[in-house]
Structure formats: C-alpha cells, structure tokens
C-alpha cells in the first residue's frame, strides 16, 4: 500500500506571487530610473506575503517560500525608498534653487525699476534742452518707459 504524504499548500500561490514581485523589486529598487516601480512592487510583495503567511498559519502550509518573499520585498522596498529619498532631496534642491533665482531676479528688477526712474528723470531734464532727440536716445527712452509701465 502506497501512502502519500498529504501536505497543505495553503498560502503557496500568493507566496509564489509575492516572491516573484519581491525579487523584481530588488533590481527595480537598485536601478535609479525605476525606483518608483521598486516601491510599488515592494509594497505589493509585502502585502501578498502577509496574506500568504496568514493563510499558511491557518492552513498549516509551509512558510519558507513566503518568508523569502517577504525578505525580498522588504529589501526591494528599502533600496527603492533610498532612491526616492535621494531624488526627492535633489528635486527639492532644484526647486529651492529656482525659487532663490526668482527671488534674486525680483530683487534685481526692483533695483532696475529704481534705476529706470532715475534715468528717466535725467533724460527728461537732458532732452528738454535738445531740439530733436537722437534716434538712439528716443529708442532708449521708449524702452525705459515700457519697462516702467511693466510691459
């Protein structure tokens, strides 16, 4: 008489899915361009492993594969999160630089505005005595007036 050893397969299907996704999360997490996929796969892998572990505990199924799945998912998620952090920091730095540049430009334009007013006042005084303003001077006056009007 042949006796077959009956072993429960509870949680194995989800465990396999979790392991595949967890293993994929590792290279995705290492490669900087695909870090967002690493985060996604890592989270999905952990969730699948947890569900599989619960099923295995209830049904008395083997847990080795599920634990491997969880470890791979956690490693993948950690690596991907490091990249996420680095890029967010760099992204924030870029945004800060843009804001700083804008503020500097605003500050400078404030200076220019003050300068424009002074130049215009001088020009009015100077050109009042001229019979005909030179074309260059006229152009400059027009540009300065446009600048002052904010055009």
């Amino acid at each position: 008489m042949i006796m077959e050893e009956i072993k429960s397969n509870a949680g194995q299907g989800l465990g396999i899915a979790g392991l595949v996704i967890g293993i994929l999360a590792i290279p995705m997490g290492i490669i900087p361009c695909t870090f967002y996929l690493g985060i996604l796969f890592g989270i999905v892998g952990i969730v699948l492993s947890l569900v599989a572990l619960t099923q295995a505990n209830r049904g008395g199924g083997p847990k080795t594969l599920i634990i491997a799945a969880m470890i791979c998912s956690i490693v993948g998620l950690t690596l991907a999160s490091v990249w996420g952090f680095v890029f967010s920091r760099n992204g924030a730095q870029v945004v800060k630089e843009i804001i700083k540049e804008e503020m500097y430009r605003d500050d400078r334009s404030g200076d220019t505005e003050r300068g424009v007013r002074e130049v215009l006042k001088d020009l009015e005084t100077d050109t009042a005595t001229w019979p005909v303003p030179s074309p260059d001077m006229q152009e400059m006056t027009d540009s300065l007036q446009m600048l002052e009007e904010g055009e």
């Binding site: 900087p32 361009c33 760099n90």
Partner: protein, 138 residues
C-alpha cells in the same frame, strides 16, 4: 511511503514567470528602438528630480544591444551591455531550471540552492561597476 518533492511546482512556476519577464524585456527592446527615443516607461529620476541618473538611457542601450549595435549601446549607457548580459544569462539559467522542473528531478532542491548562489554571484559581478558609481551619488 512515497514522499513528493514539494519544491518542484513552485520552483517551476517562479522560473516560468521570470523567463517570461526576461523575454518580455527583450521583446520590449526589440519593439522600441534607441533612435526613435519612444520608450514608454518614464525615467523616475527625471520625473522626480528633473535630472539624468546613472541608469538614464538603459532602455535605449538594451534596444541597441538587441540590434547588435554595441557602440551605440555603450554610448546610450555604459553599463547597458553588462546588465543586458546578466539578464541573458539569467534567461539561460531559467530555461535550464524549467527543463529540470518539467523532468521533476529528485535533486531539484540542491539545484535551487546552487541557482540562487550563482544568481547572486552573477548579480554582484555584472552590477559591480554600476554599484561603484552608485555609491558616489551619496
């Protein structure tokens, strides 16, 4: 008392899935060319930080490799050929494992451990220059 090898089926499924994924990567590289720059998967680093990273151009590099244009592959990304070679070797290992899984050999457990060790070793070898550059980013 007959003891069934309970590793065979999950190992076969995992290898089938990975072989499918690697074949999909190769097909993806064949469909989208490097010249067209039409790869639909966006670069995360460009997306978040607005800057190119060490892996920028990897998909284009793979597209060049599958067209045997190794010079262009190197230009697109210097690590592209090595990483593609790793995936190619992995495909061979997965296909070998599938064959063994189908034949249901009794020593599959030993093979699975050897496969894991070889994969980790190859991963280290092929990704080493990439890792070295990565550490400089911090």
């Amino acid at each position: 008392m007959k003891k069934e090898n309970n590793l065979n089926r999950p190992y076969l499924i995992i290898n089938l899935v990975f072989a499918g994924i690697i074949i999909s990567v190769i097909l993806y590289s064949l469909v989208f060319s490097a010249a067209g720059a039409s790869h639909p998967i966006p670069s995360g680093s460009q997306w978040v930080a607005g800057e190119a990273s060490l892996s920028t151009g990897l998909s284009r590099s793979f597209s060049s490799v599958v067209r045997f244009d190794f010079e262009s592959a190197r230009r697109q990304n210097p690590y592209g050929i090595r990483i593609f070679a790793f995936f190619l070797l992995q495909l061979l290992l997965r296909l070998a494992a599938i064959m063994l899984g189908i034949r249901a050999v009794t020593w599959i457990r030993g093979y699975a451990w050897a496969d894991t060790a070889i994969t980790i070793f190859l991963f280290g070898i092929f990704f080493f220059p990439f890792f070295v550059e990565l550490t400089k980013q911090f």
